[in-house]
Each structure stands twice: as C-alpha cells, then as structure tokens.
Point group: C2
DNA sequence: CCTTGACTTAGAGTGCACTCGAAGAGTTAC
DNA sequence: GTAACTCTTCGAGTGCACTCTAAGTCAAGG
C-alpha cells in the first residue's frame, strides 16, 4: 500500500538514493522488495530500519561495526548480551565526544566574545585601536 | 631554551609528527625554526598555536577553512569582523551537532536499557524466553 | 516510433585528513 | 669508521563513507 519508491524514501529519510542502495549492498538493510518493473519498493518497516541505521551511525559507529551489529540483531536474542557490550562502548565514546564538544563550544564563545569586545571598542573609540594587539590565548 | 624536538612536540600535543609537518606544509602553522642540524625546534608559542588549531579543528572546521581563518588571523585586526562571522557559523553548526548527539545518546540509553531488561528477564526466569520478540522500535 | 526520464547493476571516482615510504643527510654508539 | 638512528623533503598511499558513471532496461508522453 504505502510503499515508496527509492526517490520518495530518499527524500523522506534525508539521505541520497545512492546511499540507500549502498547500505543495501553492504548488508546493512535487508534486501528491499522489488515491484513488477524491478524497482525497489520501500515499506514502512524498511524506513524504520533506515532510521535505526541513521541513529546508529550518529552515535559514531563506523559502517564496519554497523554491519556487525546489524548481523547480531538479525541473528536473534542470544546475541543481546554482545549487543549491549557494543552499545556501551559507543556510549562511552559518545560521552567523551560530547564532553569535548562542550570545550570546543566554550572556545568559540570565548573567541567570539573577545573579538566582539574588540569590535565594540573600535566602534566606540575609532582612534584608540592601535594598542589592541593581545590575542586571547585561549 | 625550552624548545622541543618534533618528537617531543608530537608527544606533548597528542598528535603525530606527520601531522605536525603536514599542518606546517599546509600553512596552518608558521614556519617552525630549525636548529643547526636542520631539525625543527618548537617553541612554547608554536605549541600554543598547535593547541589553537586543535580547538579550531574540534569545532568541526575543515582544514580548508582553517587555512582561511589562520590567514585572517595573521592579516591583522581589520579581519576581526570576518573572523567573528566564521566563528558564528561554526558555533551554530556545533550547537546542532551537540543537539543531535543528545538524541543519539538517548537512543543508546534506551536501547541499552531495553536490552538489559531482556537480559535480566532471561536470568530471572530462564524458561519464559520464547515470547520475547518485540524489538524496541526506537 | 522515438525521445525522455527514472530506474537497475557493477565498479570506478571523490574528498577529506591524514599517514606513510623512499631517498638522503647528519649525529651517536660501539 | 661504520652501523643504527632520527631527522629532512616530496610525493604517493590509505581508509572512510559515500558519490557518481556507464551501460542497459523499461514505461509513459507526444
């Protein structure tokens, strides 16, 4: 019924047709059913799986490990313990990235604040600019 | 005095010698002074600059734009307004990434919680496992 | 009937950021 | 003095995740 063409699926998931086929080729997606014309028909379930892959990808997991994880998922419930181990590892790594990002955001904020200060000073007193040389070090 | 060899600099900054030379070649670092033997000698100021590059890089700025930004920095104070524009763009992008990461962390947490629940259930009642099939959809 | 356009495949190409290799020179250890 | 080591440069190679091309098929429109 509500099966989508590759174009529509790509549009809706915010991903390119190329990437959809690439994921399928790589075994990250199940083989997508084909219509009478041989064109792919994406079901809602397929799209849900794509979303799952996007989230997994977003955790920083590389394609190689996604293949592994996906195969675990398809292998059945006896792989759940291993799946947890994998996810834990990426949770730790993601937490580290988030922490680093906070530092980088601070860096940007400080830099922008400092520069904005210099600009305001220039506007306020267009004469006294020459003395401003001290780059904020961090 | 406290000038470091490329090995020491790499060690201290947590970066490879290759990358240090690469950054210099690309014009991201000023030309590093060489000792009598032709070997690079890194000053504290050089290392500060490396740190600056690492922070910039951490904001998600690609090498190409870093080159631009660095050239603005070296060009003098009249480029400050443009520097602010650039940094603002990366602040917006970084904020978006941080928001996305929060979503990805939630995803991991939910998955891990769900799986852990299944595991506990298995341990508690090793018999009633067969009925457990409903994958958490998100 | 013929063109247009979207799909199919396998495989090649791209962009990024390193990362490494080869060739050569200078210092240090025995 | 010669072997081992580390540095130098330049250019090539790597790994990742796409991204695109070429050649072919099929359906609809004019």
């Amino acid at each position: 019924m509500t099966e989508l063409t590759i174009d529509q699926a790509a549009e809706r998931m915010g991903i390119s047709k190329h990437t959809l086929r690439y994921y399928e080729r790589e075994g990250l997606l199940p083989e997508i059913a084909k219509g009478a014309n041989g064109h792919r028909r994406y079901t809602e379930e397929d799209l849900g799986w794509v979303k799952f892959l996007q989230l997994l990808r977003g955790t920083g997991m590389p394609i190689r490990e996604m293949k592994h994880f996906v195969s675990l998922t398809w292998a059945g419930d006896h792989t759940i313990a291993e799946r947890v181990e994998v996810l834990e590892r990426y949770r730790v790594a993601l937490a580290a990235r988030m922490e680093a990002d906070r530092e980088h955001m601070q860096f940007l904020n400080h830099k922008i604040d400092y520069y904005s200060g210099v600009l305001e000073l220039e506007n306020a007193t267009p004469d006294a600019v020459a003395g401003e040389r001290a780059e904020a070090r961090l």
